[in-house]
């Protein structure tokens, strides 16, 4: 069972929901797909056992064979190549590794070489019941603009027999879509503000496009307005959990303590959330 925890708007509490869910679920597998800023490890405190480099192919030009015809630069969708007189410039940062330049080169002067863009770290963490579960996070190199290949590689490690939790990056662009693809269910974490609602609508649009059912968690539920609840009713999206603002919880968070370890009430709420998600998937 694969569950994506996403939001649309950033800072609504995706990682709070994802990590606490991992701590109460049975046989969890937690994958932090927010590879630009993975922070689930701060709360799950895993022991890292393995590090794997993530590479993407980038073009290498054989200067002897190249006739400077410009076919590659013209074909590149991402403008990663420029041909200036007898010089070819390759911008690895712009390259998506699609291989088109290699295919179209009439001189067969282009081959692929690997560029490291980030890494995966695998390990184990412990749930509240003392059960050990698998932990993976992707870490993008600083300055690397292309994160979907790291997310894809992290998702190759999915063990479908487990309760798989994908902690998604914010927004609704490629990295978020890459995380959601193939999920059985998506939990959107939002906040009761106009910003929360606006971005939630965009995120729900993505899930619908991908034909993934979703449910909603409202964080800091006692602030703001009730527009999210109206929206859920109108769109028939199940409201799975409401978490009111709690200063103690925010304080515990700031020290890297998980909510379910901090309060018995919250542990019960997250166990209930876990049960509701399982029931939604089995519907």
């Amino acid at each position: 069972m694969i569950i994506a925890i996403a939001s649309g708007k950033g800072g609504t509490g995706k990682t709070t929901i994802a990590t606490n869910l991992a701590l109460v679920a049975a046989q969890a597998q937690y994958l932090d797909c927010d590879v630009e800023e993975p922070n689930g490890h701060l709360f799950l405190k895993p022991e890292i056992e393995q590090k794997i480099a993530v590479e993407v192919p980038v073009p290498r030009i054989d200067a002897e064979l190249c006739s400077h015809c410009g076919t590659c630069a013209n074909a590149c969708e991402f403008n990663a190549l420029a041909v200036i007189g007898e010089k070819v410039m390759v911008f690895n940062d712009l390259c998506h590794g699609c291989g088109t330049c290699m295919l179209v080169c009439p001189e067969k002067a282009i081959s692929e070489t690997a560029k490291i863009i980030g890494k995966l770290e695998n390990g184990r963490a412990q749930s509240v019941s003392g059960e050990s579960f698998t932990f993976t996070h992707g870490v993008s190199n600083v300055g690397n603009p292309l994160t979907p290949p790291i997310i894809k590689k992290a998702k190759n490690l999915i063990d479908n027999g487990r309760f798989v939790i994908l902690d998604a990056p914010p927004g609704t662009s490629c990295p978020m879509v890459q995380t959601l693809i193939g999920s059985d269910f998506c939990v959107f974490v939002t906040e009761p503000t106009p910003f929360g609602l606006n971005d939630l609508k965009l995120a729900v649009g993505v899930a619908r496009q991908l034909e993934i059912n979703c449910g909603i968690v409202i964080n800091r539920a006692d602030s703001g307005d009730d527009e999210i609840i109206k929206y859920c009713r109108q769109e028939k999206i199940p409201l799975l959990l409401e978490i009111p603002f709690n200063r103690d919880l925010a304080f515990a968070y700031s020290k890297g303590e998980a909510a379910v370890q901090h309060s018995a009430d919250l542990r019960a709420r997250f166990q209930d959330l876990y049960a509701k998600i399982v029931a939604e998937v089995k519907k």
Binding site: A73, F78, N79, A82, V83, I84, K87, M89, P145
Partner: protein, 115 residues
């Protein structure tokens, strides 16, 4: 000599557009024939690499000088390699005034920043 200017639109209403890679249109002025040629900048719709794409388009048209409001770091690398001189002009300046300022040698050269 061919001078490319990043502009807001083609035609008489054209004025200088601040952005090099993402300008809607380029005006190419031929200093001998004193005529303008226009072409749409594909970079305005590019998902990435607008600057390198626009620079390549200027190279393909054998441009010698470019005038814009600002240049991105990757565009600068390509333009510099192609020995295309980068000049600066204020956004919104009508195209004809951009050209007369260039003739009067009043436009500053873009100072390349090395990181």
């Amino acid at each position: 000599m061919k001078i490319a200017v990043s502009v807001t639109t083609a035609g008489d209403a054209a004025s200088l557009e601040m952005r090099f890679g993402r300008c809607p249109c380029f005006a190419v002025y031929d200093s001998e024939s004193k005529e303008f040629e226009w072409f749409e900048n594909a970079g305005i719709k590019a998902t990435s690499g607008a600057g390198t794409g626009a620079a390549q388009a200027l190279i393909n048209r054998n441009v010698d000088i470019v005038i814009s409001g600002q240049y991105g770091p990757k565009a600068v690398q390509v333009l510099e390699a192609a020995k295309i001189k980068m000049l600066l002009a204020p956004a919104g300046l009508p195209l004809k005034e951009v050209i007369s300022k260039w003739r009067a040698d009043e436009l500053k050269e873009y100072a390349i920043q090395r990181f």
